[in-house]
Symmetry: C2
Subunit: 331 residues, 2 copies
């Protein structure tokens, strides 16, 4: 069997390859390890919950409306730490660069990474650089890994019947921005990636009430994240279509592209399941932060299985876990 | 300016690019950060010294005499942790794979990583997988980052006049094995990479006496590592050519290839500066471990600058810091 593009697209097909790639006998260092396939791992060290995660970034183009590969590389790892409840502390940066790459572009990328780090008070403390001969790599790959500390660990499998589902903002912006930009749609640049480091926003939410479960809807989008949360938590989730925040411009572009905005990557959003009695307080906390302005209560958790959306016209349809993200090299 | 192959070759030219790549204002999380350009960073968390490091691996071919990309990916990070005095605890694994890559090869790589982890009691606890379209990447890139805990931090800038320099074994094996294999030299497979996770060996050495400074001679080889240790420590190092352990087969192949075995990567060796009174005890500790069988005292530290080798015929020559490793994609 050979690897195909869907094996890297964050959906059901990638899940199959992960069966091979996580076949380690050494896959847990005492806390939460590979077996749980959560946003990051947790390692108990010296009485603390050390959160550890990694993402490699291959987004194309490397500069796009609303961001660049450097901002994604830092934000992606900060957000996976934040989704586990971890305050980001230190990141590593592994760059693999094609011969001929412009040093001026590297300077822009480093400055952008630095800006994202500054927003949350984290630092790049170690790194590595490899250069591949021209033609052996299309541009640049940036890997970051990150270490954080969680006072209270948040899992992606912690949804409980009775919980309220909150989205921290509009859905679909990053994937549709990348795809529109690639296709050369002239939308007056109004569709921009949401790529952002979320710890500041998440910290306020954590302080405002009980968050039972949290995940960032990256590859495979909201559809993938909510299905993973529901199935790992063994609950049923009802989403209100009317409540789901999606920008009109994103909706139109998605329709033109023939892509479901619920299945494309977001890079600055969190999906949370929260205790019903705390929902309003957490919503207010999210909205108090610039990255959470458009936060909304979008559904609820009940006993059962699967994710169903109550449509605007009063029907119901399943939100299925996607085969994979429809946008290649989205992050 | 454009990136060239020497920018990724671990020597003086890479040092120039690092000026650009480490231009972060956020580059230290409270302990040892990017500014020191050591094998890893140290972050004080909860009263412990958390060591953190990363390396990406692009070695070609991915399976070679004595090892494979998986074994290097795990050993490289374990060794950078060990060089800081850190017991390796948890690693991340970021894979970027070309479309069409054989899943059977991934299985071999994962099994090999697992074996290396098992040797030192570390685990892969988190990861990421991206797939690039056919032609956008030559095969596979594996990044690992690692977390360790150091009781006593060891730096690469800690050499003191009076110290004794120890090499933990033969020099040049990995780079010359890769190059000989690529060139199709039929040497009866007697030149094999030394790629190995060194924590077990280093742990014994740390228990046996005062190690003032330590570095793994990877890209740019022994010449690069000893020069970096000497110049950062602001001391002069004298190396005895006669004492330097180099296999006869490695020496012959290096001569045929026109490559200096002191400038090629090792993937299972440590260079140490130790207190003179502890040198014999540390040497014995190293030799008690299979990966340290060929350990030898190879020189000493005095006041001054630079690294000089006393040759077998009674002369002296500078060991210069190499421009870069002469073997492309060596690790
Ligand atoms: N090559 C790999 N080796 C080990 N574990 C892996 C590997 N690839 C992915 N994983 C694990 O699989 C799970 C899913 O990974 P995935 O990358 O989809 O998560 P994510 O980072 O939250 O999403 P995204 O990468 O889209 O931001 C995670 O728990 C991750 O640690
Ligand atoms: N892209 C980068 N961003 C930030 N720091 C980097 C980057 N590349 C290298 N560094 C830093 O530069 C120093 C030298 O890196 P280098 O990779 O040569 O060290 P090493 O891992 O010990 O050697 P090797 O990679 O050959 O095993 C290290 O301190 C590393 O953290
Ligand atoms: Mg995630
Ligand atoms: Mg992620
Ligand atoms: Mg390195
Ligand atoms: Mg090193
Ligand atoms: Mg290294
Ligand atoms: Mg990931």
């Amino acid at each position: 069997m050979k690897v195909n593009l869907m094996h890297g697209a964050g959906g059901e097909v990638m899940g199959e390859l992960l069966g091979v790639l996580t076949k380690f006998t050494h896959k847990n260092a005492g806390g939460i390890g590979l077996e749980s396939l959560d946003d990051g791992a947790v390692i108990p060290i010296g009485g603390l919950n050390i959160v550890f995660t990694t993402d490699s970034h291959v987004v194309q183009p490397i500069f796009f409306p609303g961001g660049d590969i450097g901002r994604i590389a830092v934000s992606g790892t900060i957000n996976d730490l934040a989704m586990m409840g971890g305050r980001p502390i230190a990141l590593s940066c592994g760059m693999v660069i094609e011969e001929g790459f412009e040093v001026a572009d590297l300077e822009r990328i480093v400055a952008s990474m630095d800006g994202a780090l500054g927003e949350v008070g984290a630092s790049i403390v170690t790194g590595d650089t490899k250069v591949l001969e021209k033609g052996a790599l299309d541009g640049i790959v940036i890997n970051t890994a990150g270490i954080g500390v969680a006072e209270k660990i948040v899992r992606d499998n912690g949804l409980l019947p009775g919980d309220v589902i909150i989205a921290s903002g509009t859905i679909g912006d990053h994937g549709i921005a990348i795809m529109s930009h690639r296709e050369g749609f002239d939308l007056g640049e109004q569709i921009r990636s949401d790529v952002s480091p979320l710890w500041g926003m998440v910290e306020r939410a954590l302080a405002a009430g009980e968050i039972h479960s949290m995940k960032d809807p990256t590859r495979g989008g909201f559809a993938n994240a909510i299905n993973e949360m529901a199935s790992k938590s063994r609950v049923h989730v009802e989403i209100e279509e009317e409540a789901l925040p999606i920008r009109t411009s994103v909706r139109s572009a998605a329709a033109m592209l023939g892509i479901d905005p619920l299945e494309v990557a977001n890079e600055g959003k969190a999906i949370m399941g929260v205790a019903a009695e705390d929902a309003e307080a957490i919503l207010a906390a999210l909205r108090s932060h610039p990255y959470g302005r458009d936060a909304a209560i979008i559904g609820r958790v009940v006993e059962g299985r699967d994710v169903v959306m109550k449509t605007k016209i009063g029907g119901e349809r399943y939100i299925e876990p996607p085969v994979g993200d429809p946008v290649p090299r989205v992050c």
